[in-house]
């Protein structure tokens, strides 16, 4: 295994492209606008923070390592297209300013910067973030009058309806996940899998997260009544599950570094996501799940770190 030419952060950025293209196809140019605005504000925030911290000479190195760009891409893909330039700028500024540089810059932060920014605007501008534009009609399966409801928001808000009624109506239910976005989820999962196989990201984190979500989904699924908490498939292929599993939770800085720690971290994110989706006011809870699991990282690192030493030599 040799050092890879392209930095790992850039590889991750590149791997986001297929899913991003599908989202653009679904939602139109709003996705591109999101990306451009987020990239610009993240790079500017990064440069401004480095200057403020007296590390001006590092600006070029830090901007070219791809970490700010990755945060930008994650924020851009998490925010609904057309949510407003202001919202994106605020999310990016908070992500890098508060989530990263307040802790001392790259490698020092406790929380995933992109999720800090996303959670901040989710709480501050709930209306802007709840409104996803309708998906292009090719995906609508003959249902017209698209309201922009998502499968998770429908499950949270339309308590009176069974799953099959939701699927028959205009509630954002697709063939196996969220309407349309299921295809983007599939793309994120595919490119994430490639990164995991190339060992660019810690595969145990997405494995743990998806495993926990699947098991919780099975346990909580009652066949689709009006009280149903959604099938495992819906949980896996809706909202930001795949994006978060392969690209957000796998941020090396904020997940534990030991193998067992990564499993536990992944399982925790999956479980928390399920609980928040099912029992809390927010339709999707991934951002909060990741941030809460981030809190456990230092503890997991400290408790499990020395497990490899002291045992028998394996060499």
């Amino acid at each position: 295994m040799r050092r890879q030419r392209l930095g790992i952060q850039w590889q991750v950025c590149l791997a986001l492209a297929p899913g991003g293209l599908i989202l653009t196809w679904l939602f139109g140019t709003g996705v591109i606008v999101n990306l451009l605005v987020a990239a610009l504000s993240c790079l500017m925030t990064e440069a401004a923070c480095l200057t403020l911290a007296g590390r001006g000479q590092q600006i070029r190195a830090r901007l070219s390592d791809g970490s700010a760009m990755l945060t930008a891409m994650l924020i851009a893909l998490a925010l609904p297209p057309g949510c407003g330039i202001g919202v994106i700028v605020v999310a990016c500024a908070l992500a890098l300013g508060l989530g990263k540089h307040a802790y001392g810059g790259i490698g020092q932060n406790l929380f995933n910067p992109a999720m800090v920014g996303y959670a901040a605007v989710l709480i501050s501008f709930p209306a802007a973030l709840a409104t996803w534009p309708p998906v292009a009609s090719e995906f609508a399966n003959g249902v017209d009058g698209l309201s922009g409801a998502t499968i998770l928001s429908s499950m949270t808000n339309e308590h009176g309806l069974t799953l099959s009624e939701l699927a028959a109506g205009d509630y954002g239910v697709g063939q196996f996940g969220g309407l349309g976005v299921e295809w983007a989820a599939l793309a994120f999962a595919a490119s994430g899998l490639v990164l995991a196989l190339r060992r660019t990201l810690a595969w145990r984190v997405p494995a743990g997260m998806l495993l926990a979500l699947t098991i919780a989904g099975f346990v909580g699924f009652d066949g689709g009544s009006s009280n149903s908490l959604g099938s495992p498939m819906i949980h896996l292929f809706s909202g930001g599950t795949m994006l978060a599993a392969f690209f957000v939770a796998t941020d090396p800085v904020t997940h534990p570094s030991s193998a067992r720690g990564q499993w536990l971290f992944g399982l925790l994110v999956g479980l928390l996501t399920y609980l928040i989706r099912s029992y809390a006011a927010y339709p999707d809870g991934i951002a909060f799940a990741v941030l809460l699991a981030n809190c456990a990282t230092p503890w997991l690192n400290r408790t499990l770190a020395r497990s490899r030493v002291g045992g028998a030599a394996d060499a």
């Binding site: 295994m1 890879q4 190195a61 790259i106 060992r199 020395r306």
Partner: protein, 424 residues
């Protein structure tokens, strides 16, 4: 072979057998440093003084500096040689290794005579280790390509010295065909991941032999010698030449250099230099010289590291069960380093290779390891000295008690005498 002309050489010694001003000839003994040290050029001893070798050295070693005679006076005839041995027996070979100052030239530097003596009768397989970190371009590869007969001859002499049954040449795949043409001995490529040249890994890869950390390879019946060491044995026995030269890879060339050649003139040192691999080799001081174990000198690529992002890649590649990221995080905390078994680090440099932040982990870990070990040494020394002081105090107390008792007995005797006199 053209001889590189050097103006002066600097030889590290623990004890010098010559004085400043002495005139020595090439090949002559001038001091000792675990093994004997020989003058690598004819000339005059101009100083015996401390000199830096490595950047992370706790104290500089004493070096004998010899100012070389003019190049035209450095003839073969003026060189001191031991008498060549014809059909030597085991003891003669081992004695000759000691006399010629042969040491493990792959990096260990342990006197070969001591090693052979310890291995005599215990070892069934002699392994000649040609696995280098700079596979295919290093000094040992050069030796195998240009002078394999000398390499094989040295190996056979060592085999005779320890009466081993087999010789196995452990060589990278690029060298196996060259060697098989030259010798009937087994030539094998060990099937282990890097660092494949590390003794225990090598034996595991060749023979699936697991050797405990407390065990020496000779306890399991194996002795591992490096290629350059074999060449030195052959030189010492067949032509009586002491260890005064060695092959060194300098950048991309392999040169035969006198021991003690200052590195400063060899390679453009606009950046810093390392002994061994460019990333994980020991960082050389500007004053450093070629030593008996210096198999390569590399230019140090510019340090462009960024902060650790704790990706954990270094844990995956580490051949030992270590946590390199934790080791550099706690590098200033001796207690933690000890708990993290820093002394098990092989300094193989695989973590440097993989690190996405380009962090020089081996440098940082080596510094921590050094500090911990030197602290441990000084603690042991302090304990020993405390024990000596306590023992002395006890002896003194005992003696004063004895003297007290004797004095009292004398006083009692005196009093008795006096009372006897008064009563009479």
């Amino acid at each position: 072979m053209t001889r590189i002309a050097v103006e002066c050489v600097h030889l590290p010694v623990s004890e010098a057998f010559v004085d400043v001003g002495d005139v020595v000839s090439r090949g002559e003994v001038v001091g000792t440093n675990r093994a004997l040290v020989h003058a690598s050029t004819s000339g005059r001893v101009s100083s015996i003084a401390p000199r830096r070798r490595f950047l992370s050295e706790s104290s500089p070693a004493i070096h004998i500096t010899i100012e070389a005679k003019r190049a035209e006076d450095q003839t073969e005839a003026s060189e001191f040689r031991l008498p060549a041995l014809v059909q030597p027996d085991s003891t003669q070979i081992i004695q000759r290794c000691a006399d010629a100052g042969v040491v493990g030239m792959g990096g260990g530097g342990y006197p070969t005579a001591d090693k052979l003596l310890a291995a005599r009768g215990l070892v069934h397989t002699l392994v000649i280790n040609l696995m280098e970190s700079d596979a295919g371009v290093g000094a040992d590869a050069h030796l195998a390509r240009t002078n394999s007969s000398q390499l094989i001859r040295g190996a056979e002499l060592a085999q005779k010295a320890i009466s081993a049954e087999h010789i196995v040449f452990a060589a990278p795949a690029t060298l196996t065909s060259t060697l098989t043409e030259q010798t009937d001995h087994t030539v094998a490529t060990p099937g282990v991941s890097e660092p494949s040249g590390e003794e225990r890994r090598l034996l595991k890869g060749l023979f699936a032999a697991s050797i405990e950390r407390q065990e020496r390879p000779i306890d399991a019946g194996y002795l591992v010698l490096n290629g350059a060491t074999c060449a030195a044995i052959s030189d010492a026995v067949d032509s009586g030449q002491t260890v005064i030269n060695r092959l060194v890879r300098v950048g991309t060339d392999v040169l035969r250099l006198p021991i003690g050649t200052p590195i400063a003139g060899l390679i453009d040192a606009s950046t810093s230099l390392r002994s061994g691999s460019p990333l994980s080799g020991e960082r050389l001081h500007a004053d450093a010289c070629v030593g008996k174990t210096t198999y390569a000198i590399s230019e140090d690529p510019r340090d462009a590291s960024s902060p650790c992002i704790r990706c954990g890649f270094c844990r995956d590649v580490c051949p030992e069960p270590l946590l390199p990221d934790e080791l550099i995080w706690w590098r200033r905390d001796n207690e933690r380093l000890d708990a993290l078994s820093v002394d098990r680090c092989l300094e193989c440099g695989l973590c440097d290779d993989i690190c996405p932040s380009d962090i020089r982990l081996t440098d940082l870990i080596r510094d921590g390891k050094r500090r911990l070990l030197s602290e441990r040494d000084s603690k042991l020394a302090a304990q020993a000295s405390l024990a000596r002081v306590n023992a002395r105090n006890e002896r003194l107390a005992e003696r004063s008690l004895r003297e007290e008792a004797r004095r009292e007995a004398r006083l009692a005797r005196l009093a008795k005498k006096r009372s006897a006199r008064t009563s009479s």
